[in-house]
Symmetry: D2
Subunit: 393 residues, 4 copies
């Protein structure tokens, strides 16, 4: 069987989920191209070695430039901090490698644009890990809409609400513009913009209004904290520093097919640990999704006889009917967070072997659209005016 050597650049939380994905995909999917976990790469030699051993990478490295240029490598998987995405991806593309990059594709829209140009100029394939597309319920939602089950789409409501960022959390990198770019916006809105574009099959054409808010403006400084590494310690003494990113970003938007939409990302929405989802209403039906119950899709079929219309909770675990699930466990033996990543690893391997993915994967060109929406929403919040997407390039 064809083998595809993978190098992963970066570690951390996403390094673990990707490593797990490359390992598990071989066990649960029938592959025509086999991934080889060739090299993992991070800054510190000892940490890099330990990580590689633990997760089953054959080699470790501290030299990402050499790694992405190595003739042994076919696919470069990028899980660095956002502000390094562009540099690594551009080098990998320049070396003719396929690239799978974590979301959002870049720290700035300008960088994203360069990545798109490089991708277009290359014969290599690009992929972005918007993993929630590959929750079976979300993938099934995409298919339902594509098959016309919703008719003309009129309303989109998207939300990604968390509540971890209370005032006990110190000034870690996620609260600083240099390291994080934005706060909840790039972290959370990015996902729901991508998901709603994916499920509706439409593009956002205008940001009609927006709010960006930072509720907790000062946080305790953590001793020894440095941007780029997640510092989980508590603040030392009474010294505080300014939070320079948003806690919450809300915006209103219009879609290409005429729908009106609202989006909200928040980190202090008490009671919501990871409520990542959407509601979409069309002329023939409607759907709802909430990641905290990720195996379920709510579907309202307005074409049924009125007496039996209602919201139907579809347990999206039926092999053959719901995407990806025939590779996992029996019906209603539910899946979790990590399975979306394994499903994406499968689809990347399919594409690299010349097959269609089960549902579309965003490449750099596609992910750039999401980035433009993020940018437009920020402009709208700051300049307090509607922003046409056609003006954001």
């Amino acid at each position: 069987m064809r083998e595809i050597n993978v190098a992963m650049i970066g570690e951390g939380f996403m390094g673990r989920t990707h490593s797990n994905a490359w390992s598990q995909v071989k066990k649960f999917f029938k592959l025509t191209a086999q991934p080889v976990m060739h090299t993992s790469c991070s800054r510190n030699a000892e940490s890099s070695r330990t990580f590689a051993d633990h997760w089953g990478w054959k080699n470790s490295s501290t030299d990402w430039r050499a790694t992405v240029a190595s003739p042994d490598i076919e696919l470069v998987d990028v899980v660095t901090p956002n502000n390094m995405h562009a540099e690594v991806c551009l080098a990998a593309l320049a070396a003719g490698k396929h690239v799978a990059c974590e979301k959002p594709i870049a720290g700035t829209l300008a960088e994203a644009k360069k990545m798109v140009d490089a991708a277009k100029a290359s014969k290599a394939k690009t992929f972005v890990w918007y993993n929630y597309r590959r929750c079976p319920a979300v993938a099934f939602a995409h298919r339902l809409v594509k098959d016309g089950a919703l008719g003309e789409i009129r309303h989109v409501r998207a939300f990604y609400l968390q509540d971890w960022a209370d005032d006990s959390i110190p000034l870690i990198w996620r609260f600083q513009k240099e390291g994080a770019g934005t706060g909840s916006h790039g972290d959370l809105n990015a996902h729901i913009i991508d998901m709603t574009r994916f499920v509706t099959g439409e593009e956002i054409t205008e940001i009609s209004g927006a709010i960006a808010e930072t509720f907790i403006k000062q946080r305790k400084i953590v001793a020894g904290s440095t941007a780029g590494g997640i510092a989980a310690g508590v603040g030392s003494g009474d010294q505080t520093g300014p939070v320079t990113v948003d806690d919450a970003v809300l915006f209103l938007a219009r879609f290409s097919g005429g729908a009106v939409a609202s989006y909200e990302a928040a980190r202090q929405a008490t009671g919501n640990q990871n409520r990542n989802g959407f509601e979409i209403n069309g002329s023939k039906g409607a759907i709802k999704f909430d990641f905290e119950r990720m195996n379920e899709l709510q579907y309202y079929d307005a074409t049924r006889p009125r007496a039996v219309q209602g919201w139907t909770t579809i347990m999206c675990t039926h092999g053959g009917d719901h995407p990806y699930t025939e590779n996992w466990w029996p019906d209603a033996h539910v899946l979790g967070y990590e399975h979306g990543f394994v499903n994406q690893a499968y689809d990347i391997l399919r594409v690299l072997d010349g097959q269609e993915p089960v549902v579309p994967i965003p490449d750099f060109v596609d992910a750039y659209q999401t980035q433009r929406v993020l940018e437009a929403a920020l402009i709208s919040a700051v300049e307090r005016r509607p922003v046409a997407l056609s003006d954001v390039k």
Copy 2:
């Protein structure tokens, strides 16, 4: 328009719900026969007068025998304690009156049998207030099953769980056999036996096993408490007396169509204030109902394409599609507890005027079947053996 003079015998909680029903039915339903709230009757003259004035009865009385025999009265509505049902109903039937009796029809099966015989011998109509049949969701469930939506019925699970009877509650009449007959069994199981018979359209043929349990065996004696009146005060001093009825009764059963079933009534099922409902699974579909969300029926249609199968929450408030609702408010402007009684008042008036009720009302013959099941379950619990319904008459 034809007028029907109603006399109500008894007061209390059910006196209030029935009075409200006779009053409200005139406002919300298009009637061909108009009820007249002619006389309400209870033991104490002052209380009876006050009650009648408050609820809009034209006359009050303390002489129920004279009232039920009065030529002015066409329909006698019986809301006395259970152990008086038989005496009042038999007198009313003897006087040629139509009778609407609260559930359960009698304190003992022998009394119930006499009532059935008297009803059969009379030209009068009889009705029993199993009000939950007339929640729109339950009435709609009945129709769905009748129309074949569930196919062959295989499983029935019924439950009526409350939690008010913790050890702070003193020895009121509900805990004493003389006044109450049984505890949770007659109070709660009666309802779910009736509902499941109504919805399935089948009869219980066997009690396969049963448990009756009293968890709190002694309760504080309330000063001045008398059986027949609900004493809500706290116990005085440390004196306690024995609870002589059940706190919980569970039983397994078989239905005439082959289904297996379980029933449970409980008063210390902490967390459930009024969970009165059922689940029914058939070869083609399934339904679930819980009174605490009484406007909703859960329906699983196993004949739909597998990919979109799931439990559908039907908001049973759509006028024209869900029984009774065209007489109330717009869609999803939800109904409450009292509306089932008003709906029943409507159907009683329909029947008395020669029309079909919207869905079947139990008469004495029908309610006697429920009474037989209650009796069989008690025998099964006490004698610790299966009991065939054909042996309980």
Copy 3:
């Protein structure tokens, strides 16, 4: 007991709910001042007579000016179309009558301002029927927030979603600016603006952005349809006319205490028949309400030990603990749509008799704040810019 003579001006859907409220309040509440349903008034003599007889008004009238000026009347209840509110209320106030007006208080902000001025100049009491405040769950939410259970409020999400207005519905008055003023905005957003002001105890200070959309721009003309009367018939022939109001209005807002907020009213949000509710997140806790399950309040108490934190579904039916419920049925014997109106009738009578209402009722001054928010949101949608509330008077 003191009696308060009530005259109701108008009929229709709200005429029925108010008539029911004045009738039921006497039966379920212990009153110190008794309402007398003295006169109901509408245009057509026969219809007015029939309506009065049916609902128990002692007299009927077709002359609203005479009625509101009559020395027999103490309280004028206004349920006319919105564009008549001002004229009737001003006349009633001029005659020294107390006034209870349906929401929204007026068809235009200018009219509302006149009503406020008249109310301030009068010794009479004014009330506005924002009935949802008196769902026990909403009233309890108000108390929880007032008692500090949520801490500092950061997020408000409010929505009132319906789906009745598909393209089969002809050009009834609700789709025409002359009769209706606005579409979903005044009809639905009015309620959720009032509810969130009530529950948070804060004021909206800015509309940060807004969208108003009409999805179905032409509807069939109904033969014989006239503005002011709801024509439910189907369109005749192929003739269509323009819809001149919104189908949906979304807006973002800021609250006086620092919270950010989103609002949405919609009539084609398929799958939602009457989803009228809110989510509010604070630093110590959060609440959620959805009218389709009106007996329930969701509460997240972030001060509990983390291991047992979660959304708690409070069945708001416990007499003594949840407002109004001690006057109705036993615990979890649920209430419906109409009970909010009866509860409001009770509070109006309390206020007229010199007592505090159970929870605050909006008077004209209070309801005018809601009107200003409605106006500001429309300006924001039309002029495509943020609007400070201080600029809308």
Copy 4:
């Protein structure tokens, strides 16, 4: 680090979940003893080789006797059909090996008794894979009850409802007594008996009544089907054979602490794909669990102020507060079916290394209690009488 060589006997569905568990536990848990996937063993050499290669076992074998006796092996993991459990486990114990056996421990109670005796006579540790104990929500329920959160337990309701066995399914081994022993009873009731014993910390003392039912008595014979292998093909021609096991088993029971209980296992409970759960009500609180939402535990705390009492949905994913979850993903990044197995592998390794498991694991002695309950329930169903557990040994 200490290494523990594992041999797995058997393949199939459970072979896959166990292989995955032994592989994943090394990646997600901090271990003091490392499992080595030494040998997997099944009948057919080629299949055994393929399986071992796919799942990462170092060696494959077709000789289970040699494998369990090999000095290289420290722990034998048994995933054979139930009727082979005893033979393999007894051989392993005789060779001094630790044994981890799939549930139920044996095909008959007599075999189970032999296994218990052998385990007692051995110094080796035994384990049974009742995996649902290690869903974090179930493990947390165990802790809550142990800490007294429920007070005195009065009600247990347990159910394991599936719906896969409609009449399209042919006569596979699961429907035949020789291969399967029982139908839904051993497959499903075994799990909920174990879970409720685990969570309550009490034992069942009596089966008070029971029903066993086979709804579909004849099924199509599958060409080439052999007992022991799951034949998924459709029946050939019209030939049918008798189903010799139950489709559903319901029973009532009493617990040692005084609680009354009901259990139900079903395979044609339409609408329920894998509803495996329980409700437990005590004097101070109550809990509910449903595996289809396995990350959630419902908890009702009756010691809270009445006004805020309600069912709380605890998302059992908070590291540090909910068992096992600190080893997985961030809060509300939910877990799935397979994680219970990985968690159990972790606890087995802890025990083998001399530590306490996170929550108790059933050994043979413990699992034998579950087996006795299964047996008692069958006797009760067949002999139609209550059965005391003390009479079943």
